[in-house]
Symmetry: C2
Subunit: 139 residues, 2 copies
């Protein structure tokens, strides 16, 4: 296995609302909801997703939990914030505070206010509309 | 917000076992468990993690669910496979099959065998020791 991850797909409850949070609220560029024409007869999953192109071709994809469950052949789990977090590095300390404020304005919940942590970073956490954690980090 | 994610942190139950799965089982390079000297008096979280450097400086980090919960100021959720998936693009179709076999040998569970999907990819899913989904994709 090569040392790479090409796509991060997060399961969401409402694709339109989550797209608005990430695109309008946080300002990430996206072509909006796509692949609505696809339906998988085998699993019953729809292809409908929204994607954001990040650095170096890395993709962030929003996909309804219901469809991820069908596509991966899994039962839908209960929302849980301790399955993963996404880390965003800022260029300045002030950006940590500003981005958390922006996320809150966009409808996110701040779970831990920015502060110095003993492992040499200044960071805070928010969770998105579906409870997914983001840690905003300056180091 | 810039279009970037720098770190993907996944919550695990047993750091040693998950490190072995990803390092020995899947072959991702890591310096092993680090930051064991750090403890956060504010949250009670330990810093102990294991990291894998992926392409272009992207980091994959394994962090105990208990500590992620403390660090982000959240309750520990129940394991759920529909919170997210990580997508890995292969260079050939055969690599999809081979990587899923390798993951299974390493202790992963294949949740959906590789097959053509109507949105133009050939892919299958496995979940790691903690139920985190990976989709292995050729397109």
């Amino acid at each position: 296995m090569k040392s790479r991850i090409n796509v991060i797909t997060i399961g969401v409850n409402n694709l339109e609302k989550s797209l608005a949070f990430y695109r309008e609220g946080l300002g990430l560029p996206s072509n909006g909801i796509v692949a609505t024409e696809y339906h998988d007869e085998v699993s019953g999953a729809d292809g409908t997703i929204a994607m954001f192109e990040l650095q170096n071709g890395l993709l962030l994809s929003l996909y309804p939990r219901t469809e991820l469950a069908k596509d991966a052949n899994q039962k839908i789990g209960k929302e849980s914030s301790t399955e993963f977090s996404l880390g965003y590095l800022t260029d300045t300390k002030e950006e940590v505070d500003a981005l958390l404020k922006q996320a809150k304005s966009a409808g996110a919940t701040i779970t831990d206010e920015p502060r110095e942590r003993p492992w040499g970073i200044y960071s805070g956490y928010f969770k998105d509309l579906d409870g997914h954690l983001w840690e905003v980090i300056w180091r």
